[in-house]
Symmetry: C2
Subunit: 254 residues, 2 copies
Amino acid sequence: MIKVIILGSGNVGTHLFKAFKNNIDIEIIQWYSRDLKNINQYSDVVKITDELNELEVADVYILAINDDSINELSSKLPFTNRLVCHTSGSKSINELDSKNRQAIFYPLQTFSKDSEIDFTKIPLCLESFSSKDMNLLKNIATTLNCDYYEISSVQREKLHLAAVFVNNFTNHLFTIAKEITDESNIDFDILKPLISETVQKIYKLDPKEAQTGPAVRNDKETINKHIQDLKSNDHKQLYKLMTSLINNLDHEKL
Amino acid sequence: MIKVIILGSGNVGTHLFKAFKNNIDIEIIQWYSRDLKNINQYSDVVKITDELNELEVADVYILAINDDSINELSSKLPFTNRLVCHTSGSKSINELDSKNRQAIFYPLQTFSKDSEIDFTKIPLCLESFSSKDMNLLKNIATTLNCDYYEISSVQREKLHLAAVFVNNFTNHLFTIAKEITDESNIDFDILKPLISETVQKIYKLDPKEAQTGPAVRNDKETINKHIQDLKSNDHKQLYKLMTSLINNLDHEKL
């Protein structure tokens, strides 16, 4: 049994709790939140606390807290030389106080409270300073049935940047598309199969090879009509920029 | 039996042929291509021709050809007053010569030859000038088991614009993300579950509500680090523009 303590009760902490709770190889020793009311509902199935001084001994302490609190909370931990990891995509391993053994346990996924998630489909990015600690993290990943990758802090920063493009920015493109369909009284649902297929293609083709549309064909008539049709100047600018990026890339390819 | 003639042997024409071929309610009378070698392989199962003068009588003629050829080909058809539709997202119904009964049969999906597709998952956008013609198009959609929508040419232009955002531009974001991961020797596969979940969310939440990330949190430290990390100036500009669009929208919401 791997003894785990979770610190933090946000989306990541809550999803981790649910993934660990039903796992026979993992024992959740405690769940810490600075605000007990967030986790009170789980007090029947796990020991909860809002006091760092009450933290018990565990194999690993997982800090699933805001990026900006990692440094402070890790330095307030009332023990040393234990394995402490954070779950942030953008903070270095050195953000953790070095009085404990620092590590990273970063689930690369978008979490929201409303949305149930199959934890086994989440890739885990792991980092540590010793092979013994790395092995413990790998054991947790394996027992959760997750794919895992050894990713350095420098790589993780790049990966987080790439994640912003594929998740945050992509989602904003969907928002713009919904604005366009709403304005014309078109049901946004019509676009959903196209969106799903756009993603399915990356499992079969390099995205560069999968590129289609007026930009890649340099279909100036359609491009100009589209720019005219867009109402906001920012959207016109975005359309022009994306079109020129796609078009340049295609010329590179030829 | 609905008698259909397909004109064109590109991706859309080929996928239509495959969808119609196994359908007991549809009879493919002929398949026309100006270049017979594109469809020669199907000559055992369908009559093929490269001569407009050889076209037989059918209930509907579906022009699955380049946008720029629609007007010319439709005016060269050696008959009048028959139902002729095109499959383009961006061309008006009036692009078709009015000597025949004009209509639209636009499958809103991204097609590529390499990628098999479940035709029943494709929404069909239909338009015509008479209810009789519309009913025939609806019958085809129903027999294919497809969702269909009556969409005017004006709406279709907007829908096509929205499709460019969710498909072409989204795919280019994936391309940029792959560039970033490739440069840092990170396996692009790590991002695929995140990409899938980004899309799954639109089935549950309005994309505006699903927005997460440094832009929405106005996390300036991460944003500046990301802009610094990007190598190309165009990508920096894109990052800034998307970030400001997401951030502005969030302020509107509050």
